[in-house]
Amino acid sequence: MSVLQEISSDVRNMKQMENFVLFRRTNEIKEELRRGVRKSYREVIDVSWGDPHRAGVKPLSFVRQVLAACLYSELMDGDKLMVDVKQRAQRLLGTCAGGSVGSYCATAGIPQTLQSVSQYIMRRDGGVPCHPENIYISPGSQWALTNILKVLVNSEASPRTGVLIPVPCHSTTIISLTTLGAVAVPYYLREERGWALEMEELQRALDSAKGVCNPVALYMINPGNPAGYVQSRKSIQEVIRFAAEKKLFLLADEVFQDCVYGKESEFVSYKRALAEIGAPLSDSVELASFHTASKGLMGECGLRTGYVELVNLDPAVMKHINNLFSTNSCPILGQIALDVMVNPPQPGDPSYPLYLKETQHIRASLAQNVRRVEEVINSFPDFSCQPLEGGAFAFPRLFLPPKAIERAKEAGLQPDTFYCLRLLEEAGVLFSPGTEYGQKEGTYHIRFCIMTPSDTMEEILRRLSAFHEQFMKEFS
């Protein structure tokens, strides 16, 4: 028997992710289509990931031109590229060792990029000071989150370390927690109130941890994933006070801060809200805020770059965080994309008109998609969608008939996985089941990415509607 299997309890305890079933079947169907097997659709539309490019959204030209020029500087000869692209590429290359994106950089990231990011944060937060030394650029926000969790979670401790997480919560965080040996303490968001966070629920969750684990942190996702809520300033401040009172470390996952479209919604960062509360809380509550280049209008998931800003941490602890982050190096190209993200073309720059056109187009498509999704889903009696205010996903609730639930159980699948599998088979659309994210017992949801070209979304909704009617009829 394998040496590794013998010793690793993680391997022994691993349970098959439901996702594998859908994933495997998707690949099989793609293969069948390639071989010419006839289906009622010609291609599979995969919106199970938060991956706009996969869904067909085009990357922003400016960022790609700058990246290409940084990779292959000969491109800057002649007139192939606009002046501001060349200037940006030259400036950024100048910040790389040896003038090459192929060199290693310092632990926390390229110093000038850290400066740019900190200035962006200050602008975003209406002037609240931000120090570059508190920022760490990382290969993806999840990587940074895992590192911070690593500092907080002692897998050998008894009682075990607990982290409060929302239900629903995106699956990657859940996996990170499990791998680190932490206990996830769920607090349920109130679906009927637009996935609102209720303080009594937070208290209940904290109480439930007594005797089970030692909760040290509170993880918030704003704007939400998978649910599309945007937290109000008031709610954020309530959470901050709660964390202060209960001595919990705040982990604010804010990767969708650039995707806010609800008419009454406004993104307020946890950092800003904390500053506005004032002393003594603003000087003492410990906070880690996460952002990324993967989401928002850039959608550059494949580049793998994000950052974490640490607020009010003990300098001695920061030193150890530095050691931890220094065990892996951060991709240079991603940092360049990050620089562009925090410093996009401005009015007057030659690239601005195209940049404006492209970003407006993406925003318009998103707004259109939101409207259509809510319209279509809510038109079904057994399908409901809370108002979408932010983020990149819809997370509607399915009211499945008992027969469907039965059939799912017979197949050894969760009911929403069963629905998704059938949707995939019959309509060639891939969503992910609510099971992946956690949901109230007895409720079923599905998640799909809404950052797609508008006509793709129309096609998705068309296929979904046809399938849904059929499915519900079959199991009525």
């Binding site: 993680d10 490019h53 060792a97 090459s100 941490l313 240079i332």
Partner: protein, 475 residues
């Protein structure tokens, strides 16, 4: 968690990095601000970072990657036709035709897994490699961490131990601290060009078993930082040793395309394993690591690497592949990997230039290795084993007693103090051997020789001047 006592003890246990590179960066900044120093610029050759030292990237790779990033360039006729074709093919392998999408699976892009598997099969003279055994990550250290995480368990006498060469790659000790695996050193034989000694392996293992549970052995071939290239006999001995002692083999082979020693050839552990017959090839658990950071590509900043898992239990493999879930590998480096394993072929438009560039790099490396070794051996108080491969030289230093005492007083290791002074006096940043595990009086320094020859010459002269001064001052 507002104090040290709440911090995860595992994190507290990560040793402090030496930070010479940040000092180097600070001094560079000071020079830029106009501060006067005894030198014009800092040269940092402490890490295997050829571009930093001024080595150019491979044109074909950069052109293809640029086109992949900005597909408008597919219409650009000034790019050779094979560049555009390759970019088109690679973009076709990306979801949504964009390098900005997540990889199709958490191990990486399937078509590229296939390319890598084919490369390995070719390299190993037909020993088959399965694409499903290839797992990509953002750098070989990252993939290594995944495996080490699996191995990590226990505390005190039950803690997992890893037999680690002494000297080892300088990034390894911190990694082991982080995952909670005990570093168990096996000494390489300096007098024999840093060869592995089987008796020493046995000794180290026996000693280790008294205070931990050794589960795996780490191999670096070609050696980092030693430059040693293992011969067939050695590899077979190590495999037999690992097999009989039930140790998992972790074989880092990132410098496999940088072998320049006379009559030396890179032999992959996997190939040798399979040639040893079924009793070994079907049972010895092994993981091989490769990366685009090393060798002729030198693309450290792109962050790309892969591991091939051999004879790994299916459950373990599943776990490894799903562990990537939270951090899927970046796309662009996978494309760079594809280019690394599938370079232009004879007849392709870019073949001539590409081959020229590779040849030049390898020649430079070989010349540098020889020149630097001769040079350093002629410096009193220094001795250097010749390197056969890899990108480092690892000379031994004799340090005057006064330096050692000063070091003790300032709480630094003597070789770190030496490197710090060298940096401050001459503007040259080298790596102290204590990062590579030599933390006794056996002082060494490491320097990266993958640099333009003129740069290396500069480094050598400054180093000699400094070393003579140091010895002179204290006599």
């Amino acid at each position: 968690m507002s104090s040290m006592k709440d911090v995860n003890p595992r994190v507290l246990g990560i040793r402090d990095p030496v930070s010479l590179q940040s000092l180097a960066a600070r001094i560079t900044e000071q020079i830029a601000q106009g501060e006067q120093k005894p030198f014009q610029r800092v040269i940092d050759v402490s890490c295997g970072d050829p571009h930093r030292a001024g080595m150019p990237p491979l044109s074909f790779a950069r052109q293809v990657l640029a086109v992949c990033l900005y597909p408008e360039l597919l219409k650009e006729s000034s790019f050779p036709v094979d560049v555009r074709q390759r970019a088109e093919k690679l973009l076709g392998a990306c979801n949504g035709g964009s390098v900005g999408s997540y990889s199709a699976s958490s191990c990486g892009i399937p078509q590229i897994q296939k390319s890598v598997a084919e490369f390995i099969t070719r390299r190993d003279g037909g020993v088959a490699s399965d694409p499903e055994d290839i797992i990509f990550s953002s750098g070989s250290q990252k993939t290594l961490k995944l495996v080490l995480h699996l191995l990590s368990s226990g505390q005190g006498p039950t803690q997992t131990g890893l037999l680690t060469p002494l000297p080892c790659p300088h990034t390894l000790p911190m990694l082991l601290d982080e995952v909670g695996v005990k570093l168990v050193p096996y000494q390489l034989l300096e007098e024999r060009g840093w060869a592995i000694d089987l008796e020493e392996l046995h000794r180290a293992l026996k000693a280790a078993r008294r205070h931990c549970e050794p589960r795996a052995i780490y191999i670096s071939n070609p050696g980092n930082p030693t430059g040693h290239v293992q011969d067939l006999k050695t590899i077979e001995e190590v495999i037999r040793f690992a097999a009989s002692e039930r140790l998992v083999l972790l074989v880092e082979e990132v410098y496999q395309d940088s072998v320049f020693g006379q009559d030396k050839k890179f032999l992959s552990y996997k190939k040798v394993l399979f040639e040893m017959g079924a009793s070994f090839s079907e049972s010895v658990e092994m993981v091989s690591f490769h990366s685009i950071s090393a060798g002729t590509m030198g693309e450290c900043g792109l962050r790309g690497g892969y591991m091939e898992v051999i004879n790994m239990d299916l459950l373990v493999k599943n776990f490894l592949t799903s562990m990537q879930g939270p951090s899927s590998p970046p796309v662009l480096p996978q494309l760079a990997l594809e280019i690394m394993v599938n370079p232009p072929s004879p007849g392709d438009a870019s073949y001539e230039v590409f081959t020229q560039e590779i040849l030049q790099k390898v020649e430079t490396l070989a010349q540098n290795a020889q020149r630097a070794c001769e040079f350093l051996n002629a410096v009193p108080g220094m001795s250097c084993q010749p390197a056969m491969g890899g990108v480092f030289l690892y000379p031994r230093l004799h340090l005057p007693a006064e330096i050692i005492q000063e070091a003790q007083r300032s709480g630094l290791r003597a070789d770190v103090l030496y490197c710090k002074k060298l940096l401050e006096e001459e503007g040259v940043c080298l790596g102290p051997g204590s990062e590579n595990g030599h933390d006794d009086e056996n002082y060494h320094i490491r320097l990266c020789i993958s640099a333009p020859t003129a740069v290396l010459e500069d480094v050598l002269k400054r180093l000699r001047s400094f070393h003579l001064w140091i010895q002179d001052r204290h006599h």
